[in-house]
Amino acid sequence: MKFSLKIWRQKNAQDKGSFVNYEVFGISEEMSFLEMLDVLNEDLTLKGEDPVAFAHDCREGICGTCGLFINGRAHGPLRETTTCQLFMRHFKDGEALTIEPWRAKAFPVIKDLVVDRSAFDRILQAGGFVSVNVGSAPEANSILIPKKDADHAFDAATCIGCGACVATCKNASAVLFVSAKVSHLALMPQGKPERQVRVLNMVKAMDNEGFGNCTNTGACEIECPKGITLASIARLRREYCKAKLKP
């Protein structure tokens, strides 16, 4: 297979950046999308050019490091699939592929396709935890959790922090990400005592980072590789209102 690539190149945060066109040949269907970029980079290196920087680590869809905007879609064309889990059989031979970084004010570009998502970390630091010190935990089975609640909490907890929700949102809102963590902990008895401070602190941190407001477009739900849904956002709103109303 061969592909025509149009890739965003940007030297650093200060550089203006622009698209550059490349051709890749000899790609097989079994190769992953990132392996296709590896082939390009090997080629560029041998030609003496700077290879394209792109973020990745596990290549298994779980670490949340990868994240490319492919033909106008965060993580490319497949539902509930991270960039690293795209395989070339999911594309057509000869297809033109436009590859861009996540674009959002709160995620400045570091180089080429790599962006700085540390804003997410700061939001978690603001309240995404249960205050329990090592040594003070009760016996595990003394906390009973109905299976349904545990399953729902798990579904929310699977967020990988990739930022696709922000990248795809026209407002660059981080609400889906925040709602996933708030839901995970609000659904479990362990998280209940701090649920109010948690939601207030996390939402405040989100606003401070320069993410936009949520206007319910629902785009985030469509692109989230882990299937986090708008129900989670609804829960965040309820948690937030309850916390605000509480004297």
């Binding site: 030297k11 650093n12 097989s28 079994e30 190769m31 992953s32 990132l34 392996e35 590896d38 082939v39 090997e42 290196t45 041998l46 700077d50 290879p51 973020a55 680590d57 596990c58 290549r59 298994e60 779980i62 670490c63 949340g64 490091t65 699939t81 889990q85 395989f87 570091i110 180089k111 790599v114 998502r117 997410f120 970390d121 978690l124 630091q125 995404g128 935890f129 249960v130 205050s131 329990v132 090592v134 935990a137 009760p138 016996e139 595990a140 089975n141 009973l144 959790i145 109905p146 299976k147 545990a150 909490a153 798990f154 907890a157 699977t158 990988i160 922090g161 995970h184 479990m188 362990q190």
Partner: protein, 636 residues
């Protein structure tokens, strides 16, 4: 230097509690005056940073990923062991201890393993309290599954994402300490050297991966929790960034390296499919709870698997190991799979066997199976284009984990005073083969429950002297690192870093992989030496130092792999016996099981660096078994 493992006297069951009672403490008001550097934010590093922060120490936490949450532990799938005996199926601390020692083919320390089994129960309590959403039964109680090498159900899990959930739990505790000002994080930073002052670890030199700045950080103690070196084989189940740089550079500064040849091969991974393959994907051992491994009886049977009737299938693990069946330990399963494939009995591309869940799907229904393994099935389908609900998975063994690592004493301190090693990067608990679901357990035991005690003993003795980042040893280390960076960028050769790495991987897989012989090891050593020389002269790294430069990062890691590879092969050559993962074809039983030589090799092989021009020196830590009777390992 004499090795002293500092294993406490007394009865096995009492060693840890009596040892703890004797350890010195740091007074609470003084804790704030101590700074501790932690390299790594996986389960071991994050749990250590969180618990040390909670105690009031000032912690600096480093990782090379863009966020601490992305450490490789996030990818662990199947589960974590704990001797809770919630099933009433005969489990106990002693049994977990025994299974682990036996699983490791009697090449681990009794005292360490017993402590690990003891601490396992508290880990589950801690994780649940943090809000880790483990799988539950309808009663609301925690659920369990079984893993290889055991006959009890003691594995706690969160679908196929146990590592993710445990890591996010540990990271959340660390986040709280960040907010409280006790932990400071340095993502996108790679440690490139460790700095010793008067023989003690007093800090590190790290490169900021975004700006290229090379800078020193001083501290009272340094903890390495940098993960395993399985990527030395290029193709492995590890994340692409996993590397040996932190431990290798510590080794070159005087930390001894133990059992480098103990590298684990996991039986159930998706087979290699393209020559540009960049990594291999694990299909969790949890699948062997419900999955059955088979090949057609007739090697020329070309029917599709669904059409092959029971009578024409060879369930070779069940037949060969009736007592443990599909749940034999990893090394045993991997070798059996390799053997049938080498005999030309593998399926389709020949280098694969079936892992079939259809019996379980028929018995339990698709829904139950999807709840247990849904994410793994989806991953398999995305990668191969085939659905395991309809047709059996094809699997083949791949490099997965390193039992070897930096040598540590019972306090998890390396041979450099003040330098500790936690998690996969130390050698401590798994002997010659790790049992499934035990790495997460070990990483968290090290970080939550062991290091907080043992480091206080070290710091109390050290006293709150001022740290000194202006010491000339820091400048010297910085200059060395800068010089290396300059060298990579100026070599301007003809081969890429990945190209060298791939070749190294092939040399190791062929010569130091699933089976090893004197000849294959000697050949490998020669090839590694040649490749290393070529790398120095012919590597091509473009771009500049003062910005993100992924090729430059890789060059440093691969250059360390090229050095470690030789030690790995030397260790395998010196260990002239078979044990666990280390299969020397010269030493096997008639049934092709590994044959240990306890008289000569019941020791940890501990290597000391002697400078680049001299071969390393081997020390032996003799393993004393006071409780367990050494026996041939049998899973029949």
């Amino acid at each position: 230097m004499e090795l002293n493992s500092h294993i406490p006297e007394g009865k096995l069951e009492e060693k840890w509690s009596s040892h703890k009672a004797g350890l010195k403490l740091v007074n609470p008001a003084n804790k704030r005056k101590f700074e501790i550097i932690v390299i790594g934010t996986g389960l071991a590093g994050a749990s250590a940073a969180a618990s040390l922060g909670e105690l009031g120490y000032q912690v600096k936490s480093f990782c090379f990923q863009d966020s601490p949450r992305r450490a490789h532990s996030i990818a662990a799938q199947g589960g974590i062991n704990a001797a809770k005996n919630y099933r009433n199926d005969g489990d106990s601390v002693y049994r977990l201890f025994y299974d682990t020692i036996k699983g490791g083919d009697f090449r681990a320390r009794e005292a360490n393993v017993y402590r690990l089994a003891e601490l396992s129960v508290a880990i589950i309590d801690q994780a649940v309290a943090q809000g880790v959403p483990f799988a539950r039964e309808y009663s609301g109680l925690l659920d369990n599954r079984s893993f290889g090498g055991t006959q009890v159900s003691r594995t706690f899990y969160a679908r196929g994402q146990t590592g993710q959930q445990l890591l996010l739990g540990a990271i959340s505790s660390m986040c709280r300490q960040i907010t409280l000002g006790n932990v400071q994080v340095f993502p996108f930073h790679e440690m490139l050297d460790i700095v010793l002052i008067d023989g003690r670890a007093k800090g590190i030199v790290a490169r900021n991966l975004i700006t290229g700045e090379i800078k020193s950080y001083a501290a009272h103690a340094v903890i390495l929790a940098s993960g395993g070196y399985g990527n030395i084989f290029y193709l492995s189940t590890n994340a692409k960034g996993s590397n040996a740089t932190a431990i290798w550079r510590a080794y070159k500064k005087g930390a001894f390296f133990a059992n480098p040849c103990f590298t684990q091969i996991h039986p159930t991974c998706i087979p290699v499919s393209s020559h540009n393959q960049s990594k291999l994907t694990l299909m969790s051992e949890g699948l062997r709870n419900d999955g059955r491994v088979w090949i057609p009886k007739n090697k020329n049977d070309n029917r599709s698997p669904e059409q092959i009737p029971e009578t024409d299938r060879d369930y070779f693990l069940e037949n060969r190991y009736p007592a443990f069946g599909n749940l034999v330990p990893r090394d045993v399963a991997s070798r059996a799979i390799k053997q049938v494939c080498d005999e030309g009995r593998g399926v389709r591309g020949k280098m694969a066997v079936y892992l079939d869940l259809s019996d379980a799907i028929n018995r339990l229904g698709k829904e139950v199976i999807s709840e247990r393994y849904g994410n793994l099935f989806e991953m398999y389908e995305r990668i191969t284009g085939e659905s395991p609900y309809r047709t059996p998975m094809r699997i083949y063994p791949a490099i997965h984990y390193c039992m070897g690592g930096l040598w540590v004493d019972y306090n998890l301190m390396t041979t450099i005073p003040g330098l500790f090693a936690l998690g996969e990067c130390n050698f401590s608990d798994h002997g010659a083969n790790r049992l499934g679901a035990s790495a997460l357990m070990q990483g968290l035991a090290d970080g939550y429950f062991i290091i907080p005690y043992t480091i206080s003993n070290y710091l109390a003795e050290l006293g709150t002297e001022k740290k000194n980042v202006y010491h000339p040893n820091f400048r010297e280390a910085e200059n060395k690192v800068k010089e290396q960076v300059r060298k990579f960028l100026s070599t301007k050769g003809n081969r890429t870093v990945d190209d060298f790495h791939k070749e190294l991987g092939k040399v190791l897989w062929d010569g130091v992989g699933m089976s090893r012989s004197e000849q294959s090891l000697k050949d490998a050593i020669d090839k590694i030496k040649g490749l290393r020389e070529e790398f120095l002269k012919n590597v091509k790294v473009n771009g500049i130092d003062e910005s993100l430069n992924q090729s430059l990062e890789k060059a440093g890691r691969v250059s360390d792999f090229l050095e470690l590879a030789e030690l790995l092969a030397m260790d395998a050559l010196a260990r002239d016996e078979s044990c666990g993962c280390h299969f020397r074809i010269e030493h096997q039983t008639e049934e092709h099981e590994p044959k240990r030589n306890d008289e000569k090799f019941s020791h940890v092989a501990v290597w000391e660096y002697q400078g680049s021009d001299n071969p390393p020196k081997m020390h032996k830590e003799v393993l004393k078994f006071e409780r367990i009777h050494l026996a041939a390992r049998s899973y029949k």
